[in-house]
């Protein structure tokens, strides 16, 4: 649908990923735009909008684009793993690699701006007063989606379960060297035993969700910048 393509300009630079109009609207909803300025969205004439150029954006998109652009050293319009690994704070994050992996699902090597925003959108704080719409699809920043993100950090083989060895790996990354392997193993045993309801020696997503029932996930898995 070529006619549906919109180009996203930011500071008179073209963003490489040309989004379709529906994608734009989705992005807009995902990030809940409120200020419509700064960026001009050049729409093709076939879009049946009142003017040829509609100014549209939000400060979020601008910021994210800024950031995206800054991470993208070679101006290739997309990010690869090494771009992520260059973030020094992320490099010392014990789970840094896992987090980076979460941005590259299914063996992809590059991520464009659109997907970048989509993944980050999960970390938007949940609206305090959600509009009650019965048929509305589940927002991307819902509790379940946030939990899913956390779950996939553990579940490396993507079988929908956190096995003992997967848990042990994550634990080992997070714990300092003072803890011996035996201790870690017994802790892992205990953890699985505690959460495992159906007795398969692994934690499924449902069990994961259940074990974190009392935790304020909405608060914990939200970034203040995307407010």
């Amino acid at each position: 649908m070529e006619t549906d393509q919109c180009t996203f300009y930011y500071k008179s630079k073209t963003v490489n990923s040309a989004l379709s109009r529906t994608e734009w609207i989705q992005l807009k909803e995902v990030l809940s735009f409120h200020d419509w300025k700064l960026v001009t969205l050049a729409l093709p004439k076939s879009c049946h909008l009142s003017s040829h150029q509609v100014t549209v954006s939000s400060s979020h998109i601008c910021r994210l684009y800024d950031r995206f652009h800054a991470l993208d050293k070679d101006d290739k319009g997309s990010l690869n793993r090494s771009d992520f690994q260059n973030i020094s704070e992320l490099a010392v994050n014990p789970l840094g690699d896992r987090i980076i992996n979460a941005f590259f699902p299914d063996g992809m090597d590059l991520i464009d701006f659109n997907s970048f925003v989509r993944i980050l959108a999960r970390f938007r704080p949940v609206d305090q007063n959600p509009k009650k719409e019965p048929n509305a699809p589940e927002p991307i920043n819902s509790r379940v989606n946030k939990l899913k993100f956390a779950f996939q950090l553990y579940d490396q083989d993507k079988d929908g379960k956190i096995s003992k060895s997967e848990l042990l790996q994550v634990l080992r990354m997070m714990v300092g060297v003072q803890v011996t392997e035996e201790q870690l193993e017994s802790i892992t045993d205990r953890t699985i035993q505690e959460a495992d309801l159906d007795g398969d020696d692994a934690i499924s997503f449902e069990e994961f969700k259940k074990s974190l029932d009392k935790v304020d996930i909405e608060h914990k898995m939200s970034i203040r910048f995307l407010r």
């Binding site: 910021r63 793993r81 992320l90 490099a91 987090i99 970390f123 956390a150 009392k214 970034i223």
Partner: protein
Amino acid sequence: MGSLSIWRLTLVVFYIVVLIHGSSAAYGNGKTPTTSSPGQPSNPVHTFPAPKKEYLPVFQMNYPRIQIPFEITLWILLASLAKIGFHVYHKITVWVPECCLLITIGLIVGGIMYSVHEESPAVLTTDVFFLYLLPPIVLDAGYFMPTRLFFENCGTVLWFSVVGTLWNSIGIGISLFGICQIEAFGIQDINLQENLLFGTIISTVDPVAVLAVFEEVNINEQLYIVVFGESLYNDAITVALYSLFKYISQMDQVDSIDIFLGTADFFVVGFGGIMFGLLFGFVAAFTTRFTANTRELEPVFVFMYSYLAYLIAELFSLSSIMAIVTCALTMKYYVEENVSQRSCTTIRHFLKMWSSVSETLIFFFLGVTTVTSKHEWNWAYIGFTLIFCIVWRGLGVLVLAQIINNFRTIPFTFKDQFSMAYGGLRGAICFSLAFLLPNTFPRRNLFTTAAIAVIIFTVFIQGITIRPLIDYLNVRRTNRKLMTINVEIHSRAMEHTIAGIEDLCGQWSHYYWKDKFKKINDRFLRKVLIKDNRPQSSIVSLYKKLELQNALVLLDSNGGISGAPSLTSLQEQKPTKPETFLPEEVWSMQELLSKNMYKIHERTLTYTRHSLPNEIRTKEILLRRHSTIRKSMRKAGTWQTPAAAKYYSLPPTVQNLQPRLRLRKSSLTGDDDGDDDIASEINFPPARPRLQLRAKEPRRALQPPRNKLETVNEVRTDSRRTPMVDYENRGGSAMSENSKGRGTGTKRALTPMRQFGLFNEQGLKNKEKEDQMEMEEFRYTPAANRREEAREEASDSETTHPLLNRPMHQYKP
């Protein structure tokens, strides 16, 4: 506990006796010169022609000559010993802030001195405080300030420190002036200017005690940095205001032009201080560029340039605190890259030491002076001062927070505001300013007394109660009372995730400026100020990591040393009954986890005035990730066993060796579809010929185990030959031979991880080679040998490789 306090008391008494004896001897000497003074300096001249033969004095005493340094030394020793004393018994310092204890001991010593009619120490009577005691404290705070956090919250910090201090000073001053108008109190002679001056003195907060508490309860970082930054800059502003009001209070009448000039002066003082700080910071950075051959002098430059900045700012009566803080902030980044690791450690330790001593002394003298100085007690004035301090501080925080909340992404909640207001303890600076009022000043004693009363009240009452209060209020922080291990682990994982995502998103609000600065920095500043613009240091850091690794291997291989004692039972019980866990065990597991997990956002916290930030953790994390990455690189087929995953903590039993050997064989025969459950965690260059690796393997497998890392070896032999050379450079060159071109083509600073991502072909191969060498060794030496070797290695590295500072002790929990 009992025996301990007795011991401490004895010690204190002993020192007091020594002190008093010494001083009284001095006075005796001064008053009656006829007493035995055989060793006068002119003696030797007279001895020769004198008919009356005076023998060479075998034993003589010349106390006046050494009196001042001697007494200072004893004071410092006494204060420091007292500090050791109450740190031995841990529980006191948890509940009672350190400054309380110091003041208490000061009070005791002061009481003893008072009872024997000794004069108060001569140390704090002049500008000594501003010239010698204050700079180390401020320099330390500036140097260890979490820079990034500070700049993120820069506006709020300045808002609270500048406007908040003005608010407090003027508010307290004017309301005290109002109180003075009431005849019944008998203090009408204090005029407005003096009240304002006193208001300025009393409004300096010194949140050292509060920061310690905040740190221990893991308070949210915004609150932390605001309190921290406030304490720094409000020092500066108070000192500026102080000199201003002191000037005004000595004038008979104040014109409006004076007010105007005062305001102008205020800005000149502040910005002038910052300019000097910047200047000397850059000069210091530039100087350390050329210190490659005089490593031992490196710390001197840091200290002297910052002190110079302080003194010069003082010379022009600018804000010397601003100057020294800015200087430290500026130079830190560049200097730490230029100087050697050892110098860096030295700098940090010296800063901590000096600031610690200074602060200890100040609090100690505060206690002593409280008892020994002359007081003028006026219930009304002092009582109202206290009330106004609390009220104005509370109001100020409330109002200012309402205003600043509109501009903040994350507003201060009411609880935050309360803790901020309650954390307004008065401390050393307040005391010193009051104490330094000129003797001619009317009602000086009243002011001193009031200041001491406020300090003691806030430090003791608020300082002791703030921890329970924060606990009770449950101010935003990481929740410790978790019910299950699941929650503990998952929450921690989520916190790490969020930290990572936040880093990924960058810093929104300051991003533009940060980017601009980074550009300038990369383009000009780094080139001028830093010795060799970075290609080497990434190699050095890799080298350091490998070094550290040896130590870690050692540590893991005899884990008994490092394990927490309470957990031995846990370990032993585990094989027998893994199915049932007692509540105590669960509890101990939680303990273990909460104590040993990495802190979220290592970058942010850990400023305490008394201990160094822990960098080892970062290295440790990098190392571990390094190892996982290597594992995933090895995914090509060498490993698939869980034993391989345990590479990091090879169990000290030999039995594990056999299966591993067998598996190794099978992998050699080509069974290489490694279903390792670790996903490839790096950007794996697809063009890399995997076959090459496998083809090499059998050959190497047959070779006898060689020494671990070639590089390490090289360096060691080198270092034996020339023990005084700069190890970093040497290690760097050794490494760079090995991995040529690893750092080429990377313009910006290489973060350590970059190496893994952007290896070119050759670097990657070399890397593999190293890894294999290492693994080879581990596979074929029996565990016992291995352990011994590791130990040797570590002890070697301890003695011969200064890059790894104290490998063992750092890891003890």
